[in-house]
């Protein structure tokens, strides 16, 4: 019968992997209001003692579950840790209440190993500036790159990324080819970006203050929509130093090189 038990062991994950999975789970999945200590239920569903399909568990953990609070972890955990936590969750099928660990947080080393930024250090520095949440107005308030940021302004790609000085002069420009001046029939006006127009309605981004506001107007309430003279991109990038803008170009150029 020895070969039978060996075969069984083969289908069960390596204890070291399960142990790593338990730590990742405790720190990333059991925390707060999510799945509860060792999967004992929280805001997220109970995982202990449930019959769970390995493929579905893997898909849910890697990609998240649409229309739910479950995020995807494939960009946050290393491949090794992903496999470990998947193996651990599947192993909970055989767990019962008596097997609940005495402590909600298992002993183990360090926080979960999140995936590090894969690019060079100068690109990472540029990325940190682009998304710098300590500034009220950051590049990502109006531009989206790499799946983050709000896509109000134009996409940041193209040949300008190869020339730091040219990019800098565009960022500091006193005129913008995209921004218009909207004047309403009540004579108020604001710098605007056209977003959408249909059936008598016009949607414009109002750039008066940050963050931009997507406003909906009856077409008849807009007196004119013409090239802007009063708005400059420089006015929204003043908080960034030249060296930071140049660092940001390095990040954007690196992103482009990865496409």
């Amino acid at each position: 019968m020895i070969w039978v038990s060996l075969l069984l062991i083969q289908t069960v994950a390596d204890p070291a992997v399960l142990q790593r999975g338990e730590i990742i789970f405790a720190q990333s999945c059991a925390t707060g209001y999510c799945h509860g200590a060792a999967g004992a239920a929280g805001k997220g569903p109970r995982l202990r003692g449930q019959s769970l399909d390995r493929n579905r568990v893997s898909e849910a953990i890697r990609d998240g579950i649409p229309k739910s609070a479950m995020p995807g972890w494939k960009d946050r955990l290393s491949e090794q840790d992903l496999s470990a936590v998947i193996a651990y969750v599947v192993s909970l099928e055989h767990a019962d209440e008596a097997g609940l660990p005495e402590y909600p947080m298992p002993p183990g080393t360090g926080p979960a190993a999140y995936v590090d930024f894969p690019g060079p250090a100068e690109a990472k520095q540029g990325r940190d500036w682009f998304f710098d949440a300590t500034r009220l107005l950051q590049c990502s308030t109006c531009h989206s790159v790499d799946g983050r940021g709000i896509a109000v302004g134009p996409e940041l790609s193209g040949s300008t990324l190869e020339d730091q000085d040219r990019f800098l002069s565009l960022v500091r420009a006193s005129r913008s080819q995209h921004v218009l001046t909207a004047t309403l029939t009540d004579r108020s006006s604001f710098p605007a970006l056209r977003f959408e127009q249909n059936e008598g309605w016009v949607k414009l981004y109002d750039l008066t203050s940050a963050p931009p506001v997507l406003r909906t107007f009856e077409a008849s309430s807009i007196a004119s929509l013409v090239d802007a003279k009063g708005w400059s991109h420089h006015s929204v990038t003043r908080d960034y130093e030249d060296k930071e803008i140049k660092g940001i170009v390095k990040y954007l150029a690196w992103l482009r090189s990865q496409e």
Binding site: G32, A37, A69, Y103, P104, A210, P212
Partner: protein, 533 residues
Amino acid sequence: MGQDGSTGQDWPHYGGSYQFWRYSALDQINRSNIKRLTPVWAFQTGVEDGGLQATPIVVDGIMYLTSSWNRVFAIDAATGKEIWHYYYKNPRQIGIIYSPWNRGVAVSGGRVFMGTLDNYVVALDQKTGRELWKVNVEDLRQCGCNITGAPLVVRDKVIVGVTGGDSAHRGYLSAFDAETGRMVWRFYTIPAPGEKGHETWEGDSWKYGGGATWMTGSYDADLDLIYWGVGNPAADFYGGSRKGDNLYTDCVIALNPDSGELKWYFQQVPHDVWDWDAAYESVLLDLVVKGRKRKLLLNTNKGGYTFVVDRTDGSFVSAWPVAENINWITGVDEKGRLVGRKEPVVGKSTFICPSIGGGRQWNQGTYSPQTGWYYTTGIEWCQDVVAKEEEPVEGLNFFGGAFKMRPLPKGESHGHLDAYDPVTGKKYWSYRSKYPLLASLLGTAGDVILTGDVEGYFFALDAKTGDKLWSFQTGSGHRGSAISYSVDGRQYIATPSGWGSAVAGLFPQLWAESEDFRAGSTLFVFALPQEAE
């Protein structure tokens, strides 16, 4: 006579009135006739995940109700007929724990305002539900934060809080111009370098220190101040990398509504390491204390303590517990300082009461000027907590430890609803419930206190004695906030019914049967039967 915080025909604000009494001056329905209360209409929102946690708003006979996933409905408040609906288009992936519920809208000046799961504020035309403006507060995918609380409108400012207190995020309150959506001010609940209070944070911990403003504030028109509760610091259970008091987390803050300028703050829990928050509602009361007329503010925190302060300057008046099983402190001294802290330990389990679910949940209490009492729920439950050193990753969960729900050392975990003297905390009566009560309380001039339980019963207690007068089974547990209003002289009482939410998810750790509790999302409306013509 102080400010009157009762509502009449309408239920115009999230908390009923700006003073957040959740008390209606209507008395057609009262303790003598409430046993004749009858359902008159019901409204189903069609989405039940996350339960129904809203507080409806009623203005001029029209009700504005929200559900999970940011659905907004305008409903004829007398008949239940839908007038318009607006389904906000959320991205498929929200992926953060503060979802998918919404707790309500603000209605003012012909517009309806709502915060969204993907962290926008939208303004709708009150008559048609058409979108007027929409503004992103911060990128959900970066900040791991969003908006689930109802906005507060003061004059032309729409003031909106943010979640994210259990994530690596720095909290704030933002104010937007009601007409244009332009941001007018932002007050960060964690001071930046160079600002007063920054010295209460160690190193870079201020960048990811939590301080969410996830509920809705109050407003004093005479003092022209808004009051807002601020949540816990992050990481929740590990404070070793944020040594200091961590201002303005676990504070009630008083701000100028036009400028966002800080007038005063009172911190209930310096250097919180339990996820207690002070984010719940602030109730504004004008009462005589020791022979002196005082303008007071009452705020109950998740640690199970009610703090009463002077709302002109934030000076401490009193503190009293709403739960019996509290062991994280031994008490509060005469100056409002915590005594005998019992903190979670790294790598070692510590038994702490109440549980992270709180000595009270966020669901609000009510103040009755008729009895002069404050009514609130309390919860008896405990937990084991282990703290863990943790590095923040922007926008991701940042708890610094984990917990496991535990029964009481003696007796069964349970909930209760009690009548208190608002200043001394003297208890006049107590109603015991098998499970914690997780719905807000409604008080009325008919001397009744109404709320719902997690088993689906909506019920009324006598405000003077706590005796149960009436109950009605709605088919799913209660997590929202009942209101009262009148249309054409007829008084109505409306209650959301619909089991769900983060804390509901923790129930099975203590009550295995609750795993099978049925979800729902229905609004029930009741009135007295109309006499036959």
